[in-house]
């Protein structure tokens, strides 16, 4: 579905991602974890076309999307839930959702897409006319995910969706990911919560210093020593 091969991104002369190979199959949840500054967000931004890779390729369903601007990447079928949610807090919940519709490939079915998001996150329906900035952190996260979903993407990228949320809300977010997957959306999840991510994902890539360190499966979720090794490097 989504394939990165030999992806390199530099900020000036500083390499942020070095030769990353990664693949996400249709209907999979794939995790991407690693310490701060490992290049996780940069990888997502490169996929979205917000930063330009210096080498490598990004392919969606076999065709390269490298170098396309974000508005075209969205229309190709990839949506991003950005780090920190990036909700338009002065606009209403409904207006935020309508902005998400900008990325749809077809205008047909927009109302149904909004309806499905409201089923998934009832709070979005209940607070449609409220200013988005007045929602709680968890509600804003649901809105941010809903805003990406109304574009009906094939692949959903999430950048640390659990950041700054209370533990019960974090549970709700991870449960929502399963529900989204059952709707046929492929997920690439960047997270700091390594254990939760490894448990929910079909496969989790660990990166550090912009390089792939190892790949973990759900069975590794309880294996603390492997997790520690993944983060701090072992022999």
């Amino acid at each position: 579905m989504l394939e990165l091969s030999g992806l390199e991104v530099r900020y000036g002369t500083v390499p942020a991602v070095r030769g990353l190979d990664l693949s996400v199959g249709r209907g999979e949840i794939v995790g991407l974890i690693g310490p701060n500054g490992a290049g996780k967000s940069t990888t997502l931004h490169a996929i979205m076309g917000a930063v330009r890779p210096s080498a490598g390729d990004i392919r969606l369903s076999g065709s390269s999307i490298r170098g396309r601007p974000p508005e075209q990447v969205v229309r190709a079928g990839i949506a991003l839930v950005p780090e920190g949610r990036r909700i338009f807090s002065e606009l209403t919940v409904e207006e935020n959702l309508r902005l998400g519709l900008s990325g749809r490939r077809s205008k047909v079915g927009a109302a149904e897409a909004v309806e499905r998001v409201c089923e998934l996150f009832p709070v979005v329906r209940e607070s449609r006319r409220r200013q988005a900035g007045l929602l709680s952190g968890g509600q804003q996260q649901q809105l941010a995910i809903g805003r990406a979903l109304v574009a009906e993407p094939d692949v959903l990228l999430l950048d640390e969706p659990s950041l700054g949320l209370a533990p019960t809300v974090v549970n709700a977010v991870f449960e929502a990911l399963e529900a989204i997957r059952t709707r046929g959306v492929t997920i690439l999840l960047v997270e700091q919560r390594a254990q939760r991510t490894v448990a929910v994902a079909d496969r989790t890539y660990v990166i550090s210093n912009g390089e792939l360190r190892m790949t973990l499966g759900p069975e590794d979720a309880g294996d603390t020593s492997r997790m520690v090794e993944a983060y701090f490097g072992g022999s």
Binding site: A50, P70, V74, R75, P82, L91, E95, R98, S102
Partner: protein, 305 residues
């Protein structure tokens, strides 16, 4: 008393014109973070279009004015703003200075330094007497046109998809693009609306402000500078505060020129010290409220400008 009312109404009309210009500048600043110093030259080009077609039917003349201003707006967007999309705000500002002087000098070479009379609708310059107060028709028309433009713009921004996208882009353009908002479409729309407003000002200004009856290469330059100051004083970050800033400057200029003593010999004529008085007020406001006169709470406007 009646004279005071006249001065006040004229000042509101001047404030309306400056508010229109402030909206035109603020719209483009919102989506591009670009302060368009060349905005006055759009108005100048429109006024030349009117002056050169004085002998034509008035509707044709006005249509030509709109055509010239919109074409020039698009030319600025495609030839200057778009290639500089990723440039720093300073670079873009300097580029608009260059455009401004380029256009002024093209006008100078083509039409000369001596002003040309702009005749649009002479009837509008006649006064109407309401309760002993003489008000020119154009004053009333100016205020009504400004209200109509603001109402239309409010509808566009709040009720249409492109309006919503423009608001989103001016709050956080990167996130808007990540959601699929087409940056170029939004920017081109803002540039075009800004151009329509410049054309409206080009039609109104020669009739409403007696000193602007003649169009010369530096036409509307003084207004642009005062409006830019007004936009910053009001708060450039938001369209509403920028507009109120422009309106306030027009109102202040109008009231000061009406009420400051204008008789007597130099330096006691308001035309000599009017700008000095206006900018002294500006300095006082910026000292007291550097974040913008109409900005609620301390926003980041200061850093951005």
């Amino acid at each position: 008393m009646t004279e005071d009312v006249q001065v006040f109404v004229d000042a509101i009309a001047l404030g309306s014109i400056y508010a229109l210009m402030a909206v035109g500048i603020g719209l483009v600043f919102g989506v591009l973070r670009l302060v368009n110093f060349a905005y006055g030259q759009l108005i100048m080009a429109g006024a030349y279009a009117l002056a050169l077609t004085n002998d034509q039917p008035v509707l044709l003349s006005i249509a030509l004015c709109f055509g010239v201003v919109l074409a020039l707006s698009l030319a600025m967007e495609f030839a200057a703003f778009r290639p500089l999309r990723r440039a720093s705000p300073t670079t873009m500002l300097v580029a608009t200075f260059a455009i401004s002087y380029l256009l002024q000098n093209i006008a100078l070479v083509r039409f000369g330094a001596i002003g040309k009379i702009v005749v649009v609708i002479p009837k509008l310059s006649e006064p109407v007497t309401i309760g002993g107060v003489h008000i020119r028709w154009i004053t009333i028309v100016t205020i009504l046109v400004a209200i109509a433009v603001f109402a239309a713009l409010t509808l566009l921004l709040t009720r249409t998809t492109i309006g919503l996208q423009m608001r989103a882009a001016s709050i956080d353009s990167q996130t808007a693009r990540l959601l699929g908002v087409r940056a170029n479409a939004v920017i081109t729309t803002a540039v075009l609306i800004s151009g329509v407003i410049a054309a409206i000002v080009a039609v109104i200004l020669p009739m409403a402000v007696p000193e602007r009856l003649l169009v010369s290469p530096d036409y509307a330059l003084r207004e642009t500078i005062i409006v830019l100051v007004g936009v910053v004083v009001g708060g450039i970050d938001r369209l509403l505060t920028a507009t109120l800033g422009g309106f306030t400057m027009g109102l202040a200029v109008g009231l000061l020129s009406g009420f400051l003593p204008s008789t007597g010999t130099w330096p006691f004529t308001s035309s000599v010290y009017l700008d000095g008085a206006v900018f002294m007020l500006v300095i006082i406001v910026l000292l007291l409220r550097p974040e913008g006169l109409f900005v609620r709470g301390r926003r980041a406007a200061v850093e951005r400008v």
